[in-house]
Symmetry: C2
Subunit: 431 residues, 2 copies
């Protein structure tokens, strides 16, 4: 008992020696960034994009190292694909940075302004959050995406890459540092934690409240749950996207087929993919068409008795299925008694991410909008539009299913706070 706790104490001391200077430097860099104009930040981003292209070979060599240890450790094909970089993906990173340059700089913008009867003017002005900690797993491009979004929004970033992507992340991070140098900004504006020691994650979550203003976890369910459990600072995260399409009695058959097909099958691995389709009990024709379309497209359908009656290829859905985010070519399907029952199902089983109703009845759509409390509700459109870029908000760091601070796509504007600036001429408060 005492041995293990003294070992624990030693490990904590060791990791604090690494993390404390990172925190202090991030705080200093954040103060500089808060005052940095848009042109300088964009210069750093442009130089980062240039460095990514110039150092493509080094990045791919580092990635090859990560890939070979990942193969040795027997990582799954999906994980290997997330980890893999090639020339096209490096170019996509550079293009992503250039897209962030095009976004409007949120910092210093006036959110609201009014004058009080005593003559004081009050402004609500956008400011950065400060220092953002990003904890991610296998995708090395998060280093660039998250780093660039934080920089654009005037925040310092502390990035903690998963061990599997460590070499790739280091190589990519070097390009970011080069960009910062070119623009004369502190290198500590975007730092990569220089260890794969898992204690660094715990320390970021619970030991750095004096430095880190918010934590953004990017990864699987177990990472997000750990972060929400252990964090002593605010978290922007989404647990999962258990998204629904409700096909109403007044749905156009073709539209229902097209939307369900796109919502489920365009890409099955993204959080905006539909996982359950609900059919109004008076939408039998639409149900028959949609279920056969899904089955013919190679999608596994797990249905209740009514849905199973449509086609013998439909499997049996269990209670567990309604809660499940498959992220695969599988969908659960159920018949419900109208829009209210659809909303009740979504409230009970959903994750408050994104839900769509297909109907030509706008009153039914409004009822759906009012009774479904999810970050995004759509009428006659695919759930796969749940994405900052598709919303016209630009790149995003994730889709928040929290209601606190930011909900839905989290882009540059959602990575900010505000302050009140009051101008007077000697006013004092009476009474």
């Amino acid at each position: 008992m005492s041995t293990s706790s003294s070992t624990h104490a030693e490990a904590l001391t060791q990791i604090s020696h690494i993390m404390e200077p990172i925190g202090r430097k991030a705080l200093e860099a954040a103060r500089v960034l808060a005052q940095t104009d848009a042109a300088t930040k964009n210069r750093a981003l442009a130089a980062t994009a240039a460095a990514l292209r110039a150092q493509s070979a080094e990045i791919l060599a580092a990635n090859a190292k990560d890939m070979s240890s990942a193969r040795e450790r027997g990582l799954s094909g999906a994980l290997l694909d997330r980890l893999l970089l090639d020339a096209k993906r490096v170019e996509a990173m550079a293009k992503g940075v250039e897209e962030i340059i095009q976004l409007a700089d949120p910092i210093g913008t006036l959110i609201a302004e009014w004058t009080r009867p005593n003559g004081m003017t009050i402004q609500r002005v956008r400011v950065p959050l400060g220092v953002i900690g990003i904890i991610f797993e296998s995708r090395p491009n998060v280093t660039i995406d998250a780093g660039a979004l934080c920089l654009k929004s005037g925040n310092a970033a502390i990035l903690r890459a998963g061990s599997e992507s460590y070499h790739s992340s280091r190589a990519v991070h070097a390009c970011m540092v080069e960009g910062l140098k070119v623009a004369g900004l502190p290198e500590a504006a975007v730092q990569l934690v220089p260890t794969t020691d898992r204690a660094a994650v715990g320390y970021m979550l619970a030991g750095m409240a004096d430095y880190i203003d918010v934590i953004v976890p990017r990864g699987g369910k177990s990472l997000i749950q750990r972060v929400q459990q252990d964090a002593r600072v605010p978290v922007i995260g989404h647990l999962e996207g258990n998204c629904h399409v409700y096909v109403d009695r007044d749905a156009d058959i073709n539209m229902a087929c097209e939307i369900v097909k796109n919502a489920k099958l365009r890409r099955t691995g993204i959080c905006g993919a539909a996982e359950t389709v609900l059919f109004d009990k008076a939408a039998t024709t639409q149900m028959n068409a949609v279920v056969k379309m899904l089955l013919d497209a190679g999608c596994e359908v797990r249905g209740d008795q009514d849905v199973q009656a449509v086609d013998q290829r439909v499997k049996t859905a269990t209670e567990e299925d309604w809660y499940t985010e498959y992220l695969d070519a599988i969908i659960s399907a159920r018949v419900v008694d109208g829009v209210d029952a659809a909303a009740a199902h979504i409230t009970k089983y959903g994750s408050a991410h994104t839900e769509s109703i297909v109907t030509s009845n706008s009153k039914t759509a409004e009822r759906f909008f009012n009774s479904v409390d999810s970050a995004i509700v759509l009428h006659n459109a695919s759930t796969q539009f749940a994405d900052g870029g598709e919303f016209g908000m630009g790149a995003e760091i994730g889709i928040s299913t929290d209601k606190f601070h930011a909900r839905g796509p989290v882009g540059v504007e959602q990575l900010t706070s505000y302050k009140y600036v009051v101008r007077g001429s000697g006013q004092v408060r009476p009474g």
Copy 2:
């Protein structure tokens, strides 16, 4: 060891039997409130105000019980004053509720709206946060103020009153329930935890994440720190208001005296009261006048050597003083080398609440605004304006020194979130 932990387990079971149904009922009520129109909510508030007036005698009798046990337990004069109700204070509560009726209903308002190139329209619409837990100490009026603000903003409230104000809070809460009944709203929209067991606080903080969306602590430093330490849900809180006035070389002498006097002495016990005055080293004339004014007004001044040289009544400030929120007729005072040094002092010692600069030089004021990262920064105005009502935002549940979600005064609008409502005509996502 095993006895104490089984006792702990029993206590937890007991408190969960009380708190779980409260959580479930709050969640159901929140769903109703989210759909309730402004007129119905205002009817409930008007009936609450009427009930407060009608039941004034019962409220005062309940308060007398609390006062007598508080006196027996030897509570301090300041605490007794916070606890005390009289006819005037009950009337003030009723008036406070009527002021909340006058505020615009934030729910359902359109925050932003745009159309995508594919024809989809996207709206960002204001919605309630859901269920708000309020943990407070001695002031029984928090039951009404917080309950009414939550109701107006469409949120269900779970109120946990301190044991010292328990009877008063129950009597006041009964009026709120009466108001809800009159309007046909669920009584569980505003619930008061029916026990003074301190385990209820811990349970709200860590055991009710499935029901409570955000916790608002209202009370002293130790309560707020406990909440920030133990909470497993988001918290809106402020730690303290260690507010500063910086008197610049270009400050008008009379204005400096008036503003410092008001900022420190109008009311010494509120979070917007100034605790430190900083003098530009080139503002000797202003310093002499301000320091003598403060001393003559009966304020204790604790200064550095330069300030002590002004008047022999000035006491010696220690390092500890710069960190201290006196909430009393005491002020610390220091000479600094211009606006940058003032900002550096505020960054090091302040609590990021509210700071004011007195100067006739608008460039210096802008420099102060940019380099001081506090929720509220003022130019030529008293720090005591830090208040939702004074800002024209209406009643507030507190002043947030957090950057996350809400900063500064937290009124009805800050108790909301938003959702995205997307209307299409069959759009699916390409690619």
